[in-house]
Symmetry: C2
Subunit: 180 residues, 2 copies
């Protein structure tokens, strides 16, 4: 699962491997940067090239991209929206399905609480992935949170209708334990 | 000169050839469409493929993309911003310089009046390119207006500092004539 926190100056990228029991392992985390002084077309091309390299190196099955809202800071929102378009395009061109999640969905999936603050989410990401430290910068941790969010929301427990099977109950328990 | 009026559902594309005397000829005009029901990553990939085909067929030297503003209709602005990112990316990946222009700049360049209405701009585009009819749909005409805007604004007269040379004055006169 590849999570992308889109941005022009810093684009967070996180790859996690999520087992059927929903335990998760860090595969890759990083930040793609583009130079503020470069022309926009070259910045976007450099982000696209970086995203393609991550996909080719790690072969994710799905790409999740944080959803961008127009009401945010107007100065940067257009660049963020353009970067999110690049992320979705690269997924589409590699034949990978893409999904978007809102920050609230991500917070709720990771901490169980949609209004959690960023640091709570980041600390939980470190705990879930059994990391000694919170991944830095924040964009990198956000990308991991997004990948976990999508893996869990799209996973078998979330999609189940009706009562849980014993195996699903075991997964749900493991998830609860991981969140403690 | 390739002008792109970015959009997810309809992306206007216009190629014009602008001579040193600033007279302009229509090379290509069209609209790339993507299906509203398709996943966003496939819609963006289909627009990117269409833009690359236009670039490869017509070999423009420069790409101009209409600038998108966050304050527009929130429902569609994100898709438009993403499509504009794709347009800029494709230019960057083909090694072409890209520029953006605001609707006001385009109107002013084409009609001499930044608050001109869309129909005035479209009628002037048809006149400048010596077309019998206004190109349809509007996105196609807008893309041509953008290409003309960039050719003229970025051209030698606009860039000149100090008094015009006789040749520059001749260009400026030809431009004024074309606008009558």
């Amino acid at each position: 699962m590849l999570g992308i926190d889109p941005g022009l100056t810093r684009c967070g990228v996180g790859v996690v491997d999520v087992a059927p029991d929903r335990s998760a392992t860090l595969v890759y985390v990083g930040v793609l940067r583009s130079d503020h002084g470069d022309p926009i077309e070259r910045r976007l091309a450099s982000i696209a090239a970086g995203l393609r390299a991550v996909i080719d190196d790690h072969g994710p099955a799905v790409v999740a991209v944080e959803r961008v809202f127009a009401q945010h800071n107007r100065q940067t929102v257009m660049g963020t929206a353009q970067a999110s378009g690049i992320a979705l395009l690269v997924a589409g061109e590699r034949g990978l399905p893409a999904a978007t999640h809102t920050p609230t969905e991500i917070k709720a999936a990771i901490t169980g609480y949609g209004a959690a603050d960023k640091r709570q989410v980041q600390a939980m990401v470190a705990r879930i992935l059994r990391l000694d430290e919170v991944p830095k910068p924040a964009d990198a941790a956000d990308a991991l949170a997004l990948a976990l969010c999508h893996a869990w929301r799209g996973g078998p427990v979330a999609a189940a209708s009706g009562p849980l099977t014993p195996a699903q109950r075991a997964w749900a328990d493991a998830e609860r334990l991981a969140r403690r």
